[in-house]
Symmetry: C2
Subunit: 103 residues, 2 copies
DNA sequence: TCCATATTTCTATATTTATGGAATTTAAAG
DNA sequence: CTTTAAATTCCATAAATATAGAAATATGGA
């Protein structure tokens, strides 16, 4: 993963409301959660919520799927896993061999 | 972990320069890396670098240790692991049982 | 067609953040 | 006590982000 993409994704997760949204989606599973359900769960004004969701979509952490009037938000588990792996990439490869090891 | 703390930590990692710094530290292991080494590695002006490092320190992702004139930066592996766990907490607990499972 | 529901886009304001040069602090060495 | 090295703080400016009301769009049903 390119560092610019990883940084953007982390930045989007680094906001309380968006992190709440994303965690709620992660909890919800692959079928996705309607925008309206997120709104009633988190009690955020629609325009604000829409702004935050579209930021998560823009960086590829969430995908949307429409069914009639309802938009489902689906968290991208693979992207999340990739991000986590990126954070621990090459962990301790430069570590001197004496003392505790972190990994 | 409280969501405010998690969001702050993610936000600090969500900046290219700081993410480069943190990953370099993660690579370096528990003994830590001198600020000067980070500077020559990443080619960032001192004042800018100092600003970014202090943000990482403020959210507890990095701890500093002085040895003479040299300041070592030590990444906090436990905090990183806690952050990662937080992101996947309760993954899919609301998922309906039919179809693919993400976890 | 007309209406209700679901969600987004527009718009403006307030706040936070990034950047880097210059000056300063801290610590060791001569 | 003066110099050199390592790193931070101060400062100003530029840029990005958050917030939410009002208006607009999209979809399905009566």
């Amino acid at each position: 993963m390119q560092i610019e993409i990883a940084a953007k994704r982390l930045a989007e997760l680094g906001h309380v409301t968006r992190l709440e949204i994303f965690r709620y989606l992660v909890k919800g599973g692959k079928q996705g959660v309607p925008v309206g359900e997120i709104q009633s769960e988190l009690q955020v004004p629609g325009s604000t919520l829409s702004h935050h969701i579209s930021r998560l979509v823009n960086v590829g952490l969430v995908v949307q799927r429409r069914e009639g009037r309802t938009l489902y938000c689906v968290p991208q588990y693979d992207e999340l896993d990739g991000l986590i792996d990126f954070l621990k990439e090459e962990c301790c490869v430069n570590e001197s061999t004496d003392g505790d090891q972190a990994c």
